[in-house]
């Protein structure tokens, strides 16, 4: 998306929760959720070439590292927004890592998780708070 002056307009859907380390979490059916990186992160990384993720069954605490995302220019660690168990990883990223750039909130999701408890969601950022955080 390109604005009039060429500046990129990045979206942060209201129904998601965000972290200061630029992950999002989309809660579905009570205690299951998708985790990915935000449009801001995807934009900063540039062309994603490789995503390395923890395996299914791994139980992680909030802020634990669950993988690494590499782009042509840089490499970044990925951190869990909340304590959770990984119940699926996005296999499509093996052959199509560019999905993270093309559709970070949709087909470019990283892992599906089962939440340990929903209370930690209160510590994440709303879309408005995250937007304010990244424009700072």
């Amino acid at each position: 998306m390109t604005g009039a002056e060429g500046s990129k307009v990045l979206s942060y859907p209201d129904e998601l929760k965000y972290t200061k380390t630029h992950e999002y979490i989309r809660v579905e059916n009570g205690n299951q959720a998708y985790v990915g990186v935000t449009a801001f992160a995807a934009e900063q990384l540039g062309d994603v070439t490789y995503v390395e993720l923890s395996e299914v069954g791994k139980k992680l605490k909030k802020a634990d590292k669950f993988g690494v995302i590499e782009s042509v220019k840089s490499v970044s660690d990925l951190f869990m927004p909340v304590s959770a168990e990984i119940i699926a990883i996005n296999d499509r990223l093996n052959s199509e890592p560019e999905l993270v750039n093309a559709d970070c909130y949709g087909d470019g999701w990283l892992v599906k998780v089962k939440l340990e408890s929903s209370s930690e969601l209160n510590d994440t950022l709303s879309a408005d708070s995250y937007r304010a955080f990244v424009v700072e």
Binding site: G6, G46, Y50, V72
Partner: protein, 367 residues
């Protein structure tokens, strides 16, 4: 740099109009990418791309003593420039064999033009000034502020320049220099570049740079021209195994160690650094630069250890995805006994030893 102020090139407003992501590089605000590094990289390999490299430095050396002075300062042989409008790649070498900078020397009708790295302009200037008193009738001028530089690169670069300046440019050989008019704008250009493709580096007055940039983009539109940032410039030069100062060359790395022996002429007569390079050649090099094809998908990066049988023997100087060749690539320094083509080494990436094979330089060579 002694100044903390970030400088802008004459094309900064063009970059902002195009939605470039800007970064600070060597004291300059430069575009790192416009659309994406992969898009820009592939445009240059398959069609044509346009780069703002106005941050680079330009010095003019004039006078009856200019030839002798340049010859004394560089490791290549200036006599290879047998007539005006020829250019060569070379380095300034320190008395201990370390490298001050790498550069292109153009012999023009009445002077020499030296194009140096942005990050080294001040160091290079002081280096040249420090040796100039040995020579009579030489003047040195830093024209960096008065010069914008635009690189037009790729297999279709000639089509664009031809359409703008005239088809006589087709006859300019590689590493030669020409002058022309592009829609009223006076330009000088070398058939040179830093991408592994055919192309041109075009010198223009800063006041005309924006116009020239637009003219070249317009004439390249039907060929899919892309404005390209420093990101693609780096991935392109790495695939072509071209050295980057601060990575494959620095003050403790000689051009011989960096694999640039082809550009070092030890028997040409006296030059700064000659004795150290002769000694290196006689007694053997302690490290050499190799090209590594790396397995898997994780990317090798600057500083990562290079291993042989789990023991660290060297480190990566530059690494990335080889965007055109399609696998991770690295340049690395290792002791010469591990530099044979086919040698099996490993790169340590986040604690894991990832297989890597020494391959022929460069990774990519144009047909």
């Amino acid at each position: 740099m002694t100044t903390a102020q970030i400088r802008e090139t004459p094309l900064s407003s063009a970059h902002r109009r195009a939605g470039a992501r800007m970064v600070d590089f060597a004291g300059w605000s430069m575009p790192v990418t416009y659309k994406s590094i992969i898009t820009e990289h592939m445009a240059v390999r398959k069609g044509v791309g346009l780069f703002d490299v106005s941050h680079m430095g330009e010095f003019v050396v004039k006078g009856a003593g200019a030839h002798a002075f340049v010859q004394y300062m560089i490791a290549n042989d200036v006599n290879k420039l047998s007539e005006p409008n020829m250019a060569l790649y070379t380095q300034f070498v320190m008395p201990d064999g370390g490298t001050v900078d790498d550069l292109i020397v153009y012999r023009r009708e009445n002077d020499f033009l030296l194009v140096v790295n942005a990050s080294n302009v001040e160091q290079d200037w002081n280096w040249l000034v420090g040796h100039i008193n040995r020579f009579n009738d030489v003047s040195l001028e830093n024209i960096s502020e008065k010069t914008a530089l635009i690189a037009l690169q790729g297999p279709e670069a000639h089509s664009v320049l031809s359409a703008v300046v005239g088809d006589w440019i087709e006859k300019i050989p590689s590493f030669c220099y020409g002058q022309g008019i592009a829609e009223g704008v006076k330009i000088g250009f070398g058939r040179t570049g830093y991408t592994g493709e055919d192309g041109f580096e075009i010198f223009v007055d800063p006041d005309s740079a924006d116009k020239l940039w637009s003219v070249l983009l317009a004439h390249g539109e039907h060929l899919g021209i892309e404005p390209c940032g420093l990101g693609a410039r780096d991935t392109l030069r790495l695939e072509a195994a071209l050295p980057l100062y601060g990575h494959e060359l620095d003050d403790v790395t000689s051009p011989l160690e960096s694999g640039l022996g082809w550009s070092v002429k030890l028997d040409k007569g006296e030059f700064v650094g000659q004795q150290a390079l002769l000694k290196q050649k006689e007694s053997g090099l302690s490290k050499v630069c190799v090209c590594l094809q790396v397995e898997g998908k994780a990317l090798p990066r600057h500083g990562y250890p290079v291993l042989k049988d789990s023991v660290k023997i060297g480190s990566v100087s530059s690494g990335s995805q080889g965007i055109f060749v399609g696998y991770p690539i690295a340049m690395a320094f290792v002791p010469p006994q591990y530099a044979t083509i086919g040698e099996k080494l490993a790169v340590e990436i986040r604690g894991a030893a990832i297989g890597a094979t020494v391959v022929k330089r460069p990774f990519y060579k144009r047909k």
